[in-house]
Amino acid sequence: MSIRPTTASPAMPRSVKDLRLGESGTICCLKDPEMALKLLEMGCIPGTQVRLNSRAPLGCPITVVVGESEDYTLSLRVSEAATIVLK
């Protein structure tokens, strides 16, 4: 965590980037329209549940398990995960 003065308000919505290992969240919306097309195709539809599965040794990329019935594991960069906003 940075000690910088909080420019982001505390009510800032959480994204997949902010999940703790093993924690699940439900996708609310996708911020980057172009990247959204790719993520939607991969099954990251609003309302879908995702669980943070692992982080690469250097913290990026990460893997998440997509779907309530744990459909499959998706790997993506932290910058990409930050565009997936959670409910």
């Binding site: 990247m35 790719k38 939607l40 991969m42 990026c60």
Partner: protein, 727 residues
């Protein structure tokens, strides 16, 4: 044929009668043409290999770097079909240049390449995402079979699929299978041998307000359905077969109606997932929700661990390096000796200029092609296993962060490391990098890594100027010099990659978003077919270029203005007689005199003014030309050319070079000259085989020529700097 409407409903009652009826190809006299399409990791390659075996042909799609793989499959004893393997994709909206070949093939009904129907592979354990592509294909109105693959994995995960119900919902035949084990292949072939109708089920309704625009496109181009017209509106800029006028027409319509592609595509994808969810609700039940891939996760704890992960990867790289560097040398020596044996056999029995052309030109060139086979086969055996098991995805996962900083990709590690053995298989292995820009950068910088062919040049020149002196008791100064050269190449590769990352403009965005596959045992059949395919691609495509250049180089080095050549031979003979040399010495003397008078010799003299600032003379100039065939030829040429006018007792190349004197009687190979030459060889693209490999992998001369110019330029100016500073 373009206007044929596929509106006939599914032949319900007629289906059983149709089983015995062979499919009539759309184009009389041609084989039935079937396209194989599916998500990455859905077992498409396994299925293609099962259907075609070794009856595969690798060709080109115009304008892209993916190979066009086709094969012939014997569906029934009487019926054969041509199968086209399309690149793996998640949807019909292409994200990369390479995926474009899919839309170019499937949108153009008038093309003679248009498939009669498609086989869609889907991973049964992850049906939701895999069905997205299927529903798009069905809406295009393509007759289709769904190959429901990996039924075994689905069963393990507690996924139960009601095949009959799913078949009703999707409106196409479904074959449950396990392509890796060959289960379901026979049933699939039976279905493939029949006339298939286009599915009548629709999975996505185009919004009302889009219809006016879409209908205009549809009727203007005489398309058979609205959904295809929608794809025209989306992709008119990229569709290869549309004329500029056609594109302008669609462009105007899109403007006029204010069609926004991105929101429409997003909305379509969401709507498709909604209808897929409805279908799965009725047809699939999951008995265990907590899947968690226990084995894969446990393995990943070790294989992507922050210490063990990298150590194990280092071990894997070391093993690969050993294989390509050391193990491959045995069969390579055999090939070398075999070619030399055939050459000497021919030369001892026949004589004449044509025989020389055959042995020293054609056979030597052919040997130069064949010599790479062991390295290519071994490297691709490793890579195929890494890909098949899913370990390659972990490599990318662990290395992405580091490599991305330099414009490279996690997967660039394998080509770069293999480049230390040989750039030719290394460049071919860059194929595993999906992103176009990352792949081009990797291919471009890989030859800067010091390959094994540079070692002879390095050792001879280091031996000449670096003293054999111990350092800190156990190390040797020469070892340090050698390591310095390797580091120099590595640093140049990394910095060049970084520069290209900054300079190169591309419309394609770099994504990492991809499926993280579970670990699986490799299928040895797939590994074997990959090896055969890579070797064939190299021998038949890059091999042609190598053969042509080596014949050219041979002509340059053995022919010259006829008068001059004759004089050279006579002069050498008289000189030799005067000195009373032995027969072998006379021969080598003649060889060197002739080389000087040849076109290559003239070339050496011609470029001398240009290379003099680097400290090089015309003799080195000749060696630069001849070693373009392969760097190690440098040593041989230097050995030949420096026997001119020397005493007969000089044995090794090193001694010959050491005794060479300049105009003032001082040793010619000063440290400045030697280091200049060394640095030149670290950077210079002195390898036609590498150029041929780049040509074959990038499908054009643009990249190999840029590579040649860049590396030669870098070599020239670095050598210039070294010589001028050390002089």
């Amino acid at each position: 044929m373009a206007g044929v409407e596929f509106v006939a409903g599914r032949a319900g009652a007629g289906a059983s009668a149709a089983i015995l009826e062979a499919a009539a190809p759309r184009h009389p006299g041609a084989l039935t043409r079937i396209a194989l399409i599916g998500n990455p990791n859905s077992g498409k390659t396994s299925l293609f290999n099962q259907l075609t075996g070794l009856n595969q042909k690798v060709g080109n799609f115009p304008g892209v770097t993916v190979d066009r793989k086709t094969g012939v499959s014997q569906l029934t004893p009487q019926l054969r079909a041509e199968i086209i393997d399309l690149p793996g994709t998640y949807s019909l909206y292409p994200k990369s240049l390479d995926e474009k070949v899919i839309t170019d093939l499937l949108y153009d009904r008038s093309s003679d390449q248009y498939p009669d129907f498609v086989v869609v592979t889907a991973d049964a354990s992850n049906l939701r995402r895999n069905l997205l592509l299927f529903t798009q294909l069905a809406d295009l109105g393509l007759p289709a079979v769904l190959a429901l693959n990996m039924m075994d994995v689905a069963a393990q995960h507690g996924v139960n699929i009601d095949i009959a119900a799913l078949q009703r919902e999707l409106g196409v035949p479904i074959i449950p299978m396990n392509a890796r084990k060959g289960i379901g292949i026979a049933a699939l072939k039976i279905v493939m041998a029949q006339m298939l109708d286009a599915p009548t089920t629709h999975f996505y309704e185009i919004e009302e307000e889009l219809l006016p625009m879409i209908r205009q496109i549809r009727y203007y181009f005489n398309l058979h359905n609205d959904y295809l017209a929608l794809h025209y509106a989306h992709q008119y800029r990229q569709i290869g077969f549309l004329s500029p006028d056609d594109r302008a027409y669609i462009g105007e319509l899109v403007q006029e109606y204010g069609f926004e592609a991105t929101p429409q595509q997003a909305q379509e994808t969401i709507a498709r997932y909604a209808s897929i969810n409805d279908i799965l609700l009725n047809t699939v039940s999951v008995t265990r929700t907590q899947r968690n891939e226990p084995y894969s996760n446990r393995l990943d704890k070790v294989l992507t661990h922050k210490v063990w992960g990298y150590l194990i990867f280092l071990g894997v790289l070391f093993l690969m390096f050993q294989a390509v560097f050391a193990w491959a040398s045995y069969p390579m020596d055999l090939i070398d000796q075999g070619v030399a044996w055939i050459n000497s056999l021919i030369q001892s029995n026949f004589d004449g200029p044509l025989i020389n052309l055959l042995t020293e030109g054609v056979l030597a060139g052919l040997g130069g092609v064949l010599i790479f086979i062991p390295q290519i086969a071994l490297l691709f055996a490793f890579i195929a296993v890494l890909e098949e098991t899913g370990y390659m995805a972990r490599v990318t996962f662990m290395m992405d962060r580091i490599m991305r900083k330099f414009g490279l990709n996690g997967k660039s590690v394998v080509p770069l490391i293999s480049g230390v053995a040989c750039a030719v298989p290394a460049i071919m292995s860059a194929r595993t990098i999906e992103n176009w820009k990352d792949r081009m950068i990797t291919i471009f910088v890989t030859p800067l890594m010091s390959c094994s062919a540079r070692i002879p040049v390095y050792t001879v020149l280091i031996g000449l100027v670096v003293p054999d002196q111990p350092i800190l008791g156990i190390f040797n100064l020469r070892g340090f010099a050698l390591m310095g050269l390797y580091l120099l190449g590595f640093v140049a590769a990394i910095l060049s990659a970084w520069a290209m990352k900054v300079l190169m403009k591309t419309k394609e965005r770099s994504y990492f978003i991809m499926e993280f596959p579970v670990y699986r045992w490799p299928r040895w059949k797939n590994v074997g077919i990959t090896i055969v395919e890579k070797v064939k691609a190299f021998v038949f495509q890059a091999g042609k270029v190598i053969l042509a250049i080596s014949i050219l180089l041979w002509v340059l080095a053995s022919y010259g203005p006829s008068e001059a050549m004759q004089q050279a031979e006579e002069r050498a003979k008289t000189e030799a007689e005067a000195k009373g040399l032995t027969a072998a010495e006379v021969d080598s003397h003649i060889a060197s005199e002739k080389l000087e008078s040849s076109y290559a010799g003239h070339f050496g003299h011609l470029i001398e003014p240009a290379i003099r600032p680097l400290g090089f003379d015309w003799k080195i100039g000749i060696s630069l030309l001849t070693s373009f065939a392969a760097r190690e030829v440098f040593v041989g040429t230097m050995s030949t050319i420096y026997s001119v006018g020397q005493d007969a007792d000089q044995q090794t190349v090193q001694q010959k070079l050491a005794s060479e004197k300049d105009a003032n009687g001082q040793p010619f190979f000063t440290p400045a000259r030697s280091f200049s030459l060394l640095v030149f060889y670290v950077f210079a693209m002195q390898c036609m085989s590498t150029l041929a490999a780049t040509y074959r992998e990038t499908k054009g001369w643009k990249w190999p020529l840029m590579q040649l110019l860049y590396m030669t330029g870098l070599a020239y100016f670095s050598a210039l700097l070294v010589y001028q500073l050390m002089k």
